[in-house]
Symmetry: C2
Subunit: 334 residues, 2 copies
């Protein structure tokens, strides 16, 4: 990547495995060490062993809390008093909660069509909410303006080495838990929006499980990482009117730093339809008794749809969040 | 208890802690070591630390699988070829699945108003289903008749030391997981139908966590264990028309062997209403992202309703199952 040096200057260098281990220490006792649960109801169907990493059980209901704690705890150490985040919901909720824990003031820039539950929770955590229109306004510009007016540090959802290192702890725990069972993952599938979780997973696998193939999974209408891998550079989705129920994965273009990592490590990108996602959500609730949000269920949907052939192999499936409005639960059960 | 000796002759002696440890070895790698998840959303509300033991994530969706594997694996060792079980659902499902694993033929005697999902799953596991009418027929008599006609061993849901020892492994794991966090449970609350899970918990706590108070929780309309403790002998609920949404807890009278254990170990019995149960189910799904069935949610309902004062103490809450029909999920979200 010809401008990697420039990227490293602007956003910091990509995280190392040591950064993930350091993040694991930061979040210990604050984030939940979420369970890795085998899915016998799926094993026979896909001819493999499938283990779900239930980040839906994470504090604030999504993996985002890991990166938020790693980043904000360090800002608190540096004496920073305020943070600003732009977010489809889960990142904002994580930043709001982590900021409260470490005594920082948080302002969250949120699309006005974000799920009501996510808006309410960020407010409950004491954050100031600034709404914006997804189709006409730039969340980055709004955040920059607040930052210029009021001070504070912008915490982006992906373009931050400490955020990526924090997300990597989810993969670290999953690999460790499999090792305790005497197993190694042949495949790890993870939902992919801006790419931060995937980049964190890549950082871990590259260090401690190099034979594990990493697949990012996207909604078919928001396959910006797939398109970017094909183009070998970051490209956005062309359709500005694209829609998906996967509200957590609607980033129109990969984040820079995560993509610089993902392009080197991904075995591939898989895509799923909204119908496959709803089916996966229903399966998770009926068979596994867990609530997974649409964006959190894309990797499970890809496995169930046979997008990757397991042939007796072992898979870790990141179920990255569980924040679903009641109406959508009803829709999944229609 | 004046007829304890007689009871021991008929049903076997109560299980010891060594029996629970032996059961833990039997189920290792077959049953799920379910996660113990702290519930931050509840801690502040109840002024304590609440840890949920998610047996809803157990294979077959309920703790019953533990006792079933412990019992049936031993019957298989003895060369027994068939088992008969009577069950409100979860026990039957567990017996059917464990029987298939160990190569036994299973017949399940099930009330015809059991949740459809539970009936379907027992059938999917290859069991023969014999339906009965809860208000006019005796499930025990039907099971005895099948046994006389076709041979095989009846596996009761509670009156069996190997079943109780198996259920105790749920408490054993929870106590061990807390120990790893440097904590001890001041209180353990468990749903109570026939009393097998409660008796298994008592067996464990008595051996390794004697300062932990054990509370059984019942639906207020099916408080047979509460009434029996007051009477100091097993008594049934007087109202034959009593109803509750807690389909897993509708045993009209405590099972003998579990009650002989529970009467000596319970700190008390708590009762909850169906409305409190629905509220707890909704809380679990919205805040914890887990699906818990009505009978599995009574202990959580009791904690949320403040039935036991925590005052800074630590509680283990058994969430004993997650098998809910889609209609009831919708009802919890009305």
């Amino acid at each position: 990547m010809k401008d990697a040096a420039d990227l490293n200057v602007r956003l910091g260098p990509p995280p190392t495995f040591a950064d993930v281990l350091s993040a694991a220490q930061r979040i210990d006792g604050i984030a939940v060490r979420t369970p890795l649960v085998e899915c016998p109801a799926l094993n026979a169907r896909v001819n493999g062993r499938v283990f779900l990493k239930l980040e839906s059980l994470q504090r604030t209901g999504a993996f985002k809390f890991r990166g938020a704690v790693n980043r904000i705890s360090r800002l608190a150490d540096e004496g920073v008093g305020a943070v600003i985040a732009y977010s489809t919901g889960n990142h904002g909720q994580a930043i709001a909660t982590a900021a409260r824990i470490f005594g920082l003031q948080a302002t969250i820039v949120m699309p006005k069509d974000a799920p009501k539950s996510k808006i309410a929770r960020a407010q409950d955590a004491g954050a100031t909410i600034r709404f914006y229109d997804r189709s006409t306004e730039s969340r980055e510009e709004i955040a920059a303006r607040i930052c210029a007016d009021q001070g504070g540090v912008i915490v982006p959802p992906g373009d931050d080495p400490k955020i990526i290192a924090g997300q990597g702890t989810a993969a670290l725990e999953a690999v460790q838990d499999l090792q305790e069972l005497g197993l190694m993952a042949d495949v790890l599938l993870t939902p992919c929006g801006g790419g931060g979780l995937s980049a964190g997973c890549a950082t871990v696998l590259d260090a401690v499980s190099r034979d594990t193939e990493l697949f990012a999974v996207e909604p078919v209408a928001f396959n910006d990482t797939e398109r970017s891998l094909v183009a070998d550079e970051r490209v956005g989705i062309p359709d500005r009117t694209a829609r998906s129920i996967c509200d957590a994965l609607l980033a129109p273009i990969p984040a820079e730093l995560p993509f610089s990592i993902n392009r080197r490590h991904l075995a591939g990108v898989l895509t799923v339809t909204d119908a496959e996602v709803l089916s996966a959500m229903r399966f998770a609730l009926e068979e596994m008794k867990v609530l997974i949000e649409p964006g959190g269920a894309v990797a499970l949907a890809a496995v169930r749809a046979g997008r990757v052939a397991l042939n007796g192999r072992t898979a870790i499936v990141m179920c990255s969040g569980g924040n679903v409005d009641a109406e959508l639960i009803a829709r999944a059960f229609e």
